[in-house]
Every structure is written in structure tokens, then in C-alpha cells.
């Protein structure tokens, strides 16, 4: 049993403890404690029923925590020391745990941290490293989140929409430290898809798989960005693409469209194309129009303008761009690209330089600077 398999037990065990009446915050600590003990006690050889083992150990850890707590507060122990019979993990309980960790009273950073710990089974240190914050800060964020959830009451959990937003946030964070957050988000979304019957959850899973399949081609070893047109498609993960497309198609066939399914459809059209020229841009524009029905945001409109530029030429793309909010991030980069397409290299170079100045991260800043440098070099050459 590896680390990931062990972590898969976490939400099931935690939901059993909560169902037995344990308070969420202490139960969560107890499950972490049981995981640590499992790692040293099993030493590579798990017991025949690992779930039952972890439940028993977590329950005892919970009782110990409650007792020492109770002793401090001079209270009586309220729980039997042996777990009641018949308490086995159920899918509904695990699902409720997802909802709880994406509680509407939580800020998104708190919901993300709590989900990674209570559903994902990651340690506070791993989560802190992944988000580049001190471990003590992350520990505080998680314990505050647990208090908020406990106080808000478990009767009013979040819904599947908030859960999907949280998982997508985790996915987009990518990867730093020793935890691959994108892979973790996929694992948790797979688990969620198995627990629910919702085409949007399937759409989200498909979207993640299709993005993840292209991951190796998106950056160079030094971290610099490779735009879609220049990506080496031979290193795209064809197995993930096939799986993503299959899940997306099955979801779309249910005729209950939503924003994640529409995004998955767009990602599938990119993943399926042998080259950027052979991409079905007309259909991609149509999917962006569908997406706008569910998520009419400046970012969607900005991406749509790029697709229109590819489908109908730079002028059409610029016309679509004209309707996009001036202040949306990366707008200058899109404008630069479309003007370059039209052959207006001087304006494009200026816009790339503006895009570099306003870039939201270093990799994009460097990329846009290179784009400006490339055009300025072209312009300096005698014609």
C-alpha cells in the first residue's frame, strides 16, 4: 500500500468518526495521527483490513485527544472507548465531507487547504510547501477553517458547485514542493465523480485530464512558456487524452450542458488536433459561445477573441476583442498576437512590451518580453 492508497482512506475514516459523533476538528487531527502511526506500524505490510485498522486507531486517538482535553477542562469523557459496531465508511458520508470542506462560509484559500488535508490526507507541511507559505501559517489557516466549519454546523454544507471550484483551484496551482497539486486535484475529482452522478463533475474531470495530458509540452526545462502553436504534440499523453475525450463525450451525450463540459469540449478539440493549423477553430468558437451562456466573464470573452482570430482572421479577432473589458489581465498579449497576425508588427511589438510590464507572473513576463524582442529584431533588419 503506497502513500496515495493510504491517503484514499482519509475521507472515509474521517466521515465514520464524524458520524459517530466526534467533532469535526478533533476527528480530523485524530485521522492524521492514525495515518502517521499506520506508516510506522505497517512498515510496508498493511493489515488485512487497512480501513478497519485506521478507523480503530483514529477512534482511539480521538478518545485520547478528547480525554486530555476533557481533563484540562475537568469534564467527563462522553464517548465509549470501543467503536460502535457496524460503523463502516459509506459513499454518502465521504461526499458530505467534500461538501463540508467547501463550506460557503470558508474563504477559497481556507477551503482549498481544508480539502487537501481532510479529504486529500496531505500533511500541513506538504500543503504549506505547495503554496509557499510557512507551515505555522498553514496550520493556523487549517485550524481556523475547521473551527468555522464546526461552528457553521454540518447541516448546511456547501454544494457540488463549490466543491468543483475548490478542486479546479487546486488543479490550477500546478506544482511546487514535493506534492503535485494537479495530480492530487485529478485524484480527488476522480473520487468525486465516482461518488456523484453529475455530468459537470465528469466535465471537470475530463477538462483536467486533457490539460494534464499536455503538461510536459507547455514549459521548457528552465520553466519558460511554450505557446500552444509551438508545443511538441508528440509528447502529449495520448492515454490521458483518450480518457478525457471519452469522459467528455459521455457527459455531453447526457444533454445537460454546463461550463466545465463546454471547457472540456474546447480542450478536447485542441488535444485532438494534429497541429495548430488543423485545429477546428470554427467549432471552438461555437463552444466558446456555449460557454458564455454559463460563464459570461471577460476571460472567456478574451479567449474567444483568440479563437475568432484563428477561425476568421486577425481583423475578426480584433473586432471580438473590442468588446472585451480593457482591464482584463492578458488583454494586451492577445491584442499583440492579433495585430501580429494582421502584419502590424510595430504595434504588436509595443503591445507585447506592455503585456510584459503587466504580466501576472515571471514566466509570462519573460515570454512576452521575448515576443517583443523577437518582433523588434525583425523590424531592425533591413527590408
Amino acid at each position: 500500500m503506497d502513500d496515495v492508497e493510504l491517503r484514499e482512506l482519509v475521507p472515509r475514516v474521517l466521515s465514520v468518526l464524524v458520524r459517530r459523533g466526534a467533532d469535526f476538528a478533533t476527528a480530523e487531527d485524530a485521522v492524521q495521527e492514525a495515518l502517521i502511526r499506520a506508516l510506522s506500524a505497517w512498515d510496508g505490510e498493511p493489515p488485512s483490513d487497512p480501513t478497519a485498522w485506521v478507523i480503530t486507531v483514529a477512534w482511539r486517538a480521538f478518545l485520547d485527544m478528547t480525554r486530555s482535553d476533557a481533563a484540562r477542562r475537568d469534564r467527563e469523557v462522553r464517548f465509549d472507548s470501543e467503536p460502535p459496531a457496524g460503523a463502516v465508511p459509506s459513499a454518502d458520508d465521504t461526499l458530505r465531507l467534500y461538501f463540508l470542506c467547501a463550506h460557503p462560509d470558508l474563504t477559497s484559500s481556507s477551503a482549498v487547504a481544508l480539502t487537501l488535508r481532510a479529504v486529500g490526507g496531505l500533511t500541513t507541511r506538504q500543503i504549506a510547501q505547495a503554496y509557499l507559505v510557512p507551515e505555522s501559517t498553514m496550520a493556523q489557516r487549517i485550524s481556523r477553517a475547521k473551527r468555522t466549519v464546526s461552528q457553521a454546523g454540518v447541516d448546511r454544507p456547501g454544494d457540488v458547485g463549490t466543491v468543483m471550484r475548490v478542486l479546479y483551484l487546486v488543479f490550477n496551482e500546478g506544482y511546487s514542493g514535493d506534492v503535485d497539486l494537479a495530480a492530487e486535484a485529478i485524484r480527488l475529482t476522480r473520487q468525486l465523480a465516482a461518488l456523484t452522478d453529475n455530468p459537470e463533475v465528469d466535465g471537470l474531470l475530463a477538462l483536467m485530464l486533457l490539460h494534464h495530458a499536455r503538461r510536459r509540452s507547455r514549459t521548457r526545462p528552465d520553466g519558460s512558456i511554450v505557446p500552444l502553436a509551438d508545443q511538441d504534440r508528440s509528447v502529449w499523453d495520448t492515454e490521458l487524452i483518450a480518457e478525457g475525450i471519452e469522459i467528455a463525450q459521455a457527459a455531453l451525450a447526457r444533454d445537460d450542458l454546463g461550463e466545465y463540459q463546454a471547457q472540456a469540449a474546447i480542450a478536447a478539440l485542441h488535444a485532438d488536433a494534429p497541429s495548430v493549423e488543423e485545429t477546428d477553430w470554427v467549432q471552438i468558437v461555437e463552444w466558446y459561445d456555449e460557454l458564455l451562456r454559463f460563464a459570461d466573464t471577460s476571460i472567456v470573452r478574451l479567449n474567444r477573441a483568440v479563437a475568432v482570430g484563428e477561425a476568421d482572421g486577425g481583423h475578426a479577432g480584433l473586432a471580438a476583442l473590442a468588446a472585451v473589458d480593457e482591464h482584463v489581465p492578458r488583454r494586451e498579449a492577445v491584442a499583440a498576437y492579433l495585430h501580429e497576425k494582421n502584419g502590424d508588427l510595430e504595434l504588436a511589438a509595443r503591445l507585447y512590451a506592455d503585456a510584459a510590464r503587466n504580466a501576472p507572473n515571471l514566466a509570462e513576463r519573460d515570454h512576452q518580453t521575448r515576443q517583443a524582442a523577437r518582433l523588434n529584431q525583425l523590424l531592425r533588419q533591413p527590408r
Partner: protein, 135 residues
Amino acid sequence: MAKYLLLKHYRGAPAPVNNIPMDQWTPDEVDAHIKFMNDFAARLESSGEFIDGQALSPDGVWVRSDGEGRAPVTDGPFAETKDLIAGWMVIDVDSYERAIELAGELSAAPGAGGEPIHEWLEVRPFMAAPPNFTH
């Protein structure tokens, strides 16, 4: 060991020797510059002298309280603000001389024509923690 902040400015520092904006360099010169910066940080990490390095976006605002129960007031950004910090590196080194030496190396990052930029960096010592002493 003592900690120092190496500050790079968008505006406010004296003009560098090789003063051509980055978008006017060739793409290869841009790559060489980025590689130099990455290698520099990696070298300080391996020598055990690196603490932190961050870049800042140029747009920021001024904020002040407007009294209890009222939303904070924001102002700016001001194009005329003389000083604008671009980023920093925090190092932990044996001596002031070592901090100056490293800042000098960083200032020599390659720019246009592959020539060192020789930009001005600001070096600021951290206030040290009070020493442990017994009465």
C-alpha cells in the same frame, strides 16, 4: 551571519551603464539574461546564502485608513512617484563585504549586446535581532 536585502528598482536608481530597455534586446540576449538570474539564485542556494527572492508587479496603490467604520482610502498609482521597487533578494552572508561582492555580481547581469548592464542595486542590512545576554 548577517542578512541583507538586495533591492532592484524599476525607477529611482541612477541610470545603468548599459541602458537599453529589455524589449529592444535580441531574444537570445533576453534568454541569456534570464539564465544568468536563475543561475545566480541557484548558486546562492547551493552556497547556503540564499533566503528569498521575489519580483513585484509595477502597479501598486497607496492606501490609508479613513477612520473607524469607513472603507480605506486608496490613491494612485502615481506615474510621478520617483521610486519604484521591481524586486528583491534576501541573502544571509558572513560579512558586509560579501554582500557587496554579490550585489556587484548581480549588477553585472548581461543585457543588450551581451554586455553587462551594470545597473545600480540597493543593499540594505536587516536590523539584527537583539543579542542574548545575561545580567
